[in-house]
């Protein structure tokens, strides 16, 4: 009996065969210009010989969003300060893909900072630079500048603006990782992290008694350890090896900080269909003024190298 299900199965087989023929035909043709441009654009950060992409991707996904720090700064009453950011006018300085990827991350953090503070005029300047860098790295298709630009003109759209910006950066990172170009993703996330570090350190320098900010700096030790681990996969790349040296210097300053973790079982209750956890574990972060100064100095030096 040739029933409907069989009919669908038959049609599926036929269409898959047709699709396969079309695919083979398409593969036989020469590469599209944009695909070729993408391949050509990867001048820096060659693939390592035996890089385990799965391990790299699993570390990459741990790196927290710089947006968390911007929210902390705003919630703690810190005033908006454009001079802390890397000016979007620096764009023409970024000629290599190494610099482009790093500063795409830097500008991403700066955009998040302007968004959180609802400084839309500044945000739009960053949008333009971000779009240029993303286009030059052939990942511009993931950055929806029209929608973001439209949302940025109205302060009521903050939630949507933050959402779409985060989604776009997540898509870029995911794409780079699935294309076997996780090195660019490492640079993008490192640039973003360093910019957030730099902003936090500058704010903390003006407010040295702010315990929360000092702790925030101290706990970045955990993230830097992961970043250094990632750079270890790309030692053969000259640019990344050089940045790794700088990051190791920063790590040495962080190594003086003690983070003590104490686990205590959590308690949970269900409130309005949500499992609300009471976290009874704690961390204490021992960080001195001298540690903060050392970290601030090294961070500033690295960030200047990246942005200039």
């Amino acid at each position: 009996m040739f029933n409907f299900a069989n009919n669908i199965a038959f049609m599926r087989s036929v269409s898959i065969a047709i699709a396969a023929i079309l695919l083979v035909a398409a593969c036989g043709k020469s590469k599209k210009p944009d695909e070729q441009a993408f391949l050509n654009s990867l001048d820096s950060a060659k693939k390592g010989p035996t890089i385990d992409e799965e391990v790299i991707n699993s570390i990459l996904q741990q790196i927290p969003s710089p947006l968390e720090i911007s929210v902390l700064l705003k919630e703690s009453g810190t005033k908006y300060n454009f001079s802390l950011l890397n000016t979007p006018d620096n764009l023409p300085k970024y000629n290599s893909n190494y610099k482009k990827a790093l500063n795409l991350g830097v500008y991403g953090t700066d955009l998040g900072y302007t968004n959180i503070y609802q400084q839309n005029k500044d945000g739009i300047k960053y949008l333009s630079s971000i779009k240029s860098l993303a286009n030059e790295l052939n990942i511009g298709q993931f950055f929806d500048i029209e929608t973001i630009g439209r949302l940025a003109t109205n302060s009521k759209n903050l939630d949507s603006l933050l959402l779409i910006t985060t989604e776009n950066f997540n898509s870029i990172n995911h794409y780079l990782q699935t294309q076997g170009r996780a090195n660019l993703s490492v640079l993008l996330l490192t640039g973003g992290w360093l910019e957030a570090m730099q902003i936090t350190c500058q704010v903390a320098a003006k407010d040295p008694k702010n315990k929360e900010l000092r702790e925030k700096i101290g706990e970045q030790k955990i993230i830097l350890e992961q970043i250094v681990l990632l750079f270890g996969f790309y030692k053969e790349d000259e640019n990344m090896a050089s940045l790794l040296n700088d990051l190791n210097e920063l790590k040495a300053a962080f190594d003086k900080i003690n983070i003590t973790y104490t686990y205590k079982e959590s308690t949970m209750e269900v409130v309005n269909g949500v499992a609300v956890i009471k976290d009874n574990s704690t961390t204490t972060i021992d960080i001195t003024d001298k540690d903060v100064q050392a970290i601030t100095g090294i961070t500033n030096t690295i960030r200047t190298k990246i942005a200039s």
Binding site: I8, S15, I16, P64, T166, Y261, S266, I277, S281, T283
Partner: protein, 142 residues
């Protein structure tokens, strides 16, 4: 000739738009979870959760949670709310910190005010027979 081309096009459309029983579009579930994050939470990540027809016992991701920040992780699946998918958070020492299965009840969201900065594992496991397909989103607020 036109009829032949039209027929092939129509057949292709029907065939590709009819999902196989075992297909899992976890990305759709993950995206559907984003707007379901609680009020005031900023979106951070979306996660695909696919047991690959029962071949996988767990799906795991990791993230650095920071002290003083409240996180929310939710679950989306077809059918009943979580379709037997459980999300559990472990600290870096693999101590259990939170779970969405409480007293045998499957909860579709966890609110986790973090009190200790560190690397945490977000693990999805599957309760019951058969393949499980879903998605999840992570958000934060101060």
């Amino acid at each position: 000739m036109k009829k032949v081309i039209l027929s092939i096009f129509s057949i292709s459309l029907i065939a590709f738009s009819t999902p196989l029983a075992s297909q899992c579009n976890s990305e759709n579930f993950a995206n559907a979870c984003i707007p379901k994050l609680g009020s005031g939470f900023n979106f951070l990540k979306s996660y695909k959760v696919d047991s690959e027809g029962g071949a996988k016992e767990k799906v795991e991701y990791s993230y650095v949670f920071t002290k003083g920040t409240q996180y929310m992780i939710n679950l989306c699946a077809s059918g009943s709310a979580t379709d037997g998918i459980i999300v559990t958070i472990f600290d870096s020492g693999r101590n259990k910190v939170a779970t969405s299965k409480i007293n045998g009840q499957f909860i579709s969201a966890i609110a986790y005010p973090c009190n200790a900065t560190g690397i945490y594992y977000i693990q999805y496991t599957f309760d019951g027979a058969g393949g499980k397909c879903g998605g999840s989103a992570l958000g934060f607020k101060r």
